[in-house]
Symmetry: C2
Subunit: 322 residues, 2 copies
């Protein structure tokens, strides 16, 4: 699977780390997401020059006041501001009813100057709100999270140019591209089948012409299945579940896990680890994403990418209608 150039890159990376045992090349989401954001900033600058002050616009709708949601949203708003995307945070109180949330969504759907709308999940409301209903109320043309049924349907049936791709798997694909390993004809294994990671990841790998195996909590022989992977994407939500001993030599390992485990050596008393046991996987994989600094930052970058694409489609449509 390795080209000579990639092999030389790996040997250099390995020798830089001062250990011959650690052979995997680290695929940095921090670096790659920075490249993506820089590219998008240029595109947005060009749009602004070409279309007299035009800016892509994103609305982040939040219900309630969860600490974790606040943190995620502030990261998104900051990334948008840096790129030149006009991002607006709409916050409804936790007393908001389902109808009020739907009304808010409809008003953004109808606003022609907004190109992207995401609803920050989980909804933090004292009222019962149907997540599916809310997710599918977002206009498919503005659904830059790619979570509506229509976008999921298009992706799952291979209409990739006509849909929004969920941000985390889209970021994983970008990281795989960074390795230079081609996906077509490879055996990819995905662990997990969630709506935001596993299921769309399967679709993306499949339509990039990999043979894809999806594993999950009911898979009885996970180590054997993982052992056949040329490309492994893990979105299981279980700390350090995948062991290095399971891997085939030379695998590409993409770890979507974000798990907090106790660590007395840290001031916070905990640290973040992925779904892959990094220290052992690092010995066998050819490429591996770290946690943190791997898939995480890519998710935000791809949300920005989708927003810029949506704005471009909007401009194109407007030009065609002139």
């Amino acid at each position: 699977m390795l080209t000579l150039a990639a092999l030389s890159l790996r040997l250099r990376a390995s020798s830089c780390q001062g250990s011959w045992r650690s052979i995997a090349t680290v695929v940095s989401g921090n670096k790659t997401s920075k490249l993506v954001r820089e590219r998008l900033k240029k595109e947005v600058d060009n749009m602004r020059t070409q279309f007299s002050g035009f800016r892509p616009s994103l609305v982040v709708l939040q219900v309630g006041d969860r600490d974790d949601s606040n943190l995620y949203i502030s990261t998104k708003l900051k990334a948008a501001a840096e790129i030149g995307i006009d991002a607006k945070h709409v916050r409804l109180p936790s007393s908001a009813t389902q109808d009020e949330v739907l009304q808010s969504i409809m008003s953004v759907n109808d606003n022609l100057s907004v190109h992207g709308l995401i609803v920050q999940l989980p909804l933090d409301s004292v009222n019962a709100i149907d997540n599916e209903l809310v997710t599918n109320a977002v206009s498919p043309e503005k659904d830059v999270d790619g979570l509506s049924c229509i976008n999921a349907g298009k992706l799952s049936r291979g209409d990739l140019n006509d849909c929004f791709i969920p941000c985390t798997p889209n970021g994983c694909m970008e990281l795989i591209r960074q390795t230079g390993v081609s996906v077509a004809g490879k055996h990819a294994v995905v662990i997990g089948r969630s709506k935001i990671v596993g299921a769309p990841m399967h679709d993306l790998l499949l339509w990039s012409h990999a043979t894809v195996t999806t594993c999950h909590s009911k898979t009885p022989d996970l180590p054997q299945q993982v052992g056949r992977a040329d490309i492994l994407v893990v979105g299981a939500g279980r700390a350090e579940m995948v062991r290095g001993e399971w891997l085939k030599e030379g695998t590409v390992v993409i770890d979507c896990g974000i798990n907090h485990v106790p660590d007395e050596t840290k001031a916070s008393g905990k640290r973040v680890v992925g779904d892959v046991h990094y220290a052992s996987a690092n010995q066998t994989a050819a490429y591996i994403t770290p946690v943190p600094g791997g898939v995480g930052p890519m998710t935000v970058a791809m949300l920005m990418e989708n927003t810029v694409r949506s704005a471009q489609r909007f401009l194109l449509k407007n030009q065609q209608h002139r």
Copy 2:
């Protein structure tokens, strides 16, 4: 994988066929579809009694006059009539434009007395018609072929109770159920990723908790992938491509292929074969579907099933609104 009862069934089946080498139990679509149709007939009779003459209603929209379409449609109309479904054949001339086709669809969408609408593909029109647009114009609540993006999205993300499942893969699942082999925890391999067979088949097996591998024309090691299957579903469209030597002992083989190959011994000069080389697969598989008489008749039965389900949902909705 085999229970004692299933093993005894296989041995009996094998001895009935008068050969010890032929070990697979034949999973008959003719028999199973008959059972489904009989069950549906009873359900429709009950509906009629309970709701003063109510009948499920299906519209089959055809554009043009292709011989193969005519044959398929007449099979569907006949099955519907036998069950008590009120099926109507709407035929537009091959001179029909896209707008005329869309108008026809909208008028059926708006007709409250129709519960199912299918557009017979391929469209036989002298005008350019966008298949995707037409397929997605069918109201998701009447899309008993399960081919619209919304239904595909729900199926692919595991919302199986809230969608229509495409008829061929739904029929395959019914045949697998007939074997008594449980799907959960098994390794299923699907060959093909088409919108009407492979892709939704993957979804159904996955959400029945199998570990699923999807193979296709870009899979380099098809025999090895097939050799790992506990359950194999083939929708490749290539005559007798899968050989018995590839199979693991005891596999369930479901063959969706319908291929015409030259045969001088037949009056028509040809015969129908599947995507699986039956004579050799029969030696290794535990269960196998024949071609013809396997998946084929199930497709029509499942269309009837979806139409009856749609009518039931319609009745339920009407009761709730009272």
